[in-house]
């Protein structure tokens, strides 16, 4: 009975705290987390396809660049890369602005935290996406590429009509994994001060001294985000491979 009472007490404090404004803050945090993840995935998709192309290239130099990119950005701690882009960006921006004379010699021009965070997470995501794209390109039947070549298709036409549609179809499951990874990496950019879910939970925990409540809530919200995306990607996979389904 005592346990039930204390539970009820806990729940009512939780409700009061959430209704006092932290609930709305957390919802904004989710919105920011999703925004960060989406923008990072887009940056990663552009970089990832370029890097995948470089890794598949016939030229040794390009292959080396591609290999180094994926090795470095998958081998470094995510936190280090985020710090590098955020603080390093500040260093570069400040240096440029100081030498251009647009700020005083003791002023500091900060890297916009959203931009720094998104670039860092996007570049990490790009390294994983490059592997996904490379794998799906290699899964395309050689014969189809040869046939397209035999028809006299130009490289661009081959890319647009034969390679891209199939790579996109084959890459969907892998991209689902990268998406989950990117959601989890986005929590790290709270260190730069982007008000996404993790930072919001942090602020709430520190200012209300209810850390257990807010970190548990944050954990649950991340779980909701990652588990909602699973059926969405399953659906996308079914949709993109609808012409390859086995008849029942």
């Amino acid at each position: 009975m005592e346990f039930l009472n204390s539970l009820q007490e806990q729940l009512s404090t939780a409700y009061e705290l959430l209704a006092a404004g932290w609930g709305v803050q957390l919802l904004w945090g989710i919105a920011w987390t999703l925004a960060v993840t989406m923008v990072s995935m887009l940056i990663g998709a552009v970089l990832g396809s370029l890097v995948a192309a470089a890794k598949l290239s016939h030229r040794g130099g390009l292959r080396f660049i591609g290999e180094s990119y994926t090795t470095v950005f998958r081998g470094e701690p995510e936190l280090l890369i985020i710090y590098l882009f955020y603080y390093g960006g500040t260093q570069v921006l400040t240096g440029v602005a100081r030498s251009a004379g647009s700020i005083g010699s003791t002023d500091i021009l900060n890297m916009p935290s959203f931009l720094g965070g998104v670039l860092a997470v996007g570049i990490i995501s790009g390294a994983y996406q490059a592997e996904v794209f490379r794998g799906s390109f290699l899964a395309i039947h050689r014969g189809e590429l040869e046939a397209a070549r035999a028809y006299g298709m130009s490289a661009w036409l081959r890319f647009r009509l034969v390679i891209m549609p199939q790579v996109l179809r084959l890459a969907v499951p892998g991209l689902g994994n990268v998406w989950q990874l990117t959601i989890k990496d986005s929590a790290l950019i709270s260190v730069t001060g982007v008000a996404e879910l993790m930072l919001t939970a942090n602020k709430a925990a520190r200012s209300t001294h209810h850390s257990l409540l807010f970190y548990t809530l944050a954990g649950i919200l991340y779980l909701v985000m990652t588990s909602i995306s699973t059926p969405i990607f399953d659906k996308a996979e079914r949709y993109t491979s609808r012409s390859f389904l086995r008849p029942k």
Partner: protein, 243 residues
């Protein structure tokens, strides 16, 4: 370019390598123990065990490690019984132990999935053959299932270990001065983040590359039967030039 700065930064960060390795080692070791328990629970076939492991894996793989770390470090101390417990409190008030606990719990979720996959990938024929030989369940596990499963699990396990190396950097957010924390401090003191973080990055990269090499070597040692046979032509002596 001033090399002295690079050298001194490199040296200061390297001095924190033992601490990083300590977190890494204990995180992995305890993680392995928990993962073994989880795999056993999952493979034992009890329905409750399966629900528990599924839930465990879902929770620890679906949320960021940072949340788990904060929850353990800041969150659990809210419970009175934790603060008054003579066993739990010394562990949970120390950021070092908290990081190790968080990493172990997190990696156990991923590892138990790796081990489960490896156990299922052991060819049925080999287990049947062992049964036909009249091996007891334990002997079968010790001599057939375990060695094959371990070798099958190795590539995915090495990836997980590298993820753990990267995860040790998170310890810096709970005030531990391991490599990342040290680099952060130097960077704040000197305001030269690019140089400092590059130094730390080189060390992390070398660490990860050597771990990857080590695992590749172990994998090579463990799979002599999968290597192609030495080519015949190498053993045949070349025809002496008589012409």
């Amino acid at each position: 370019m001033d090399f002295d700065f690079y050298l001194s930064t490199m040296w200061s960060v390297l001095k924190a390598l033992p601490l990083t390795l300590e977190i890494w080692f204990f995180g992995i070791a305890f993680g392995l123990i928990i993962a073994t328990g989880l795999t056993w629970l999952r493979a034992s076939g009890h329905r409750l065990g399966e629900y528990f492991t599924r839930g465990y894996v879902f929770i620890f793989r679906g949320s960021p490690l940072l949340v788990q770390l904060y929850l353990i470090y800041f969150g659990l101390s809210q419970f009175d019984f934790v603060r008054h417990s003579p066993i739990l409190w010394p562990i949970l008030r120390d950021p070092m132990y908290c990081t190790i606990v968080a990493m172990a719990l997190n990696t156990a979720a991923y590892e138990s999935e790796i081990f489960r996959g490896a156990l299922r990938a052991v060819p049925v024929g080999q287990i049947e053959a062992a049964k036909a030989f009249g091996m007891s369940a334990f002997t079968r596990f010790r001599l057939v299932t375990l060695p094959i499963a371990l070798r099958l699990a190795l590539p995915a396990y090495s990836t997980e270990i590298i993820l753990m190396t990267k995860a040790t950097a998170l310890a810096s957010v709970v005030t531990i001065m391991e490599m990342m924390g040290t680099a952060q401090k130097i960077q704040h003191d000197t305001f030269r983040p690019i140089e400092v973080l590059t130094c730390a990055g080189v060390i992390y990269l070398l660490l990860n590359l050597s771990i990857a090499r080590l695992f590749a070597w172990v994998e090579y040692l463990l799979s002599p039967h999968l290597r192609p046979a030495p080519e015949q032509s190498q053993q045949v002596k070349p025809v002496p030039e008589v012409l």
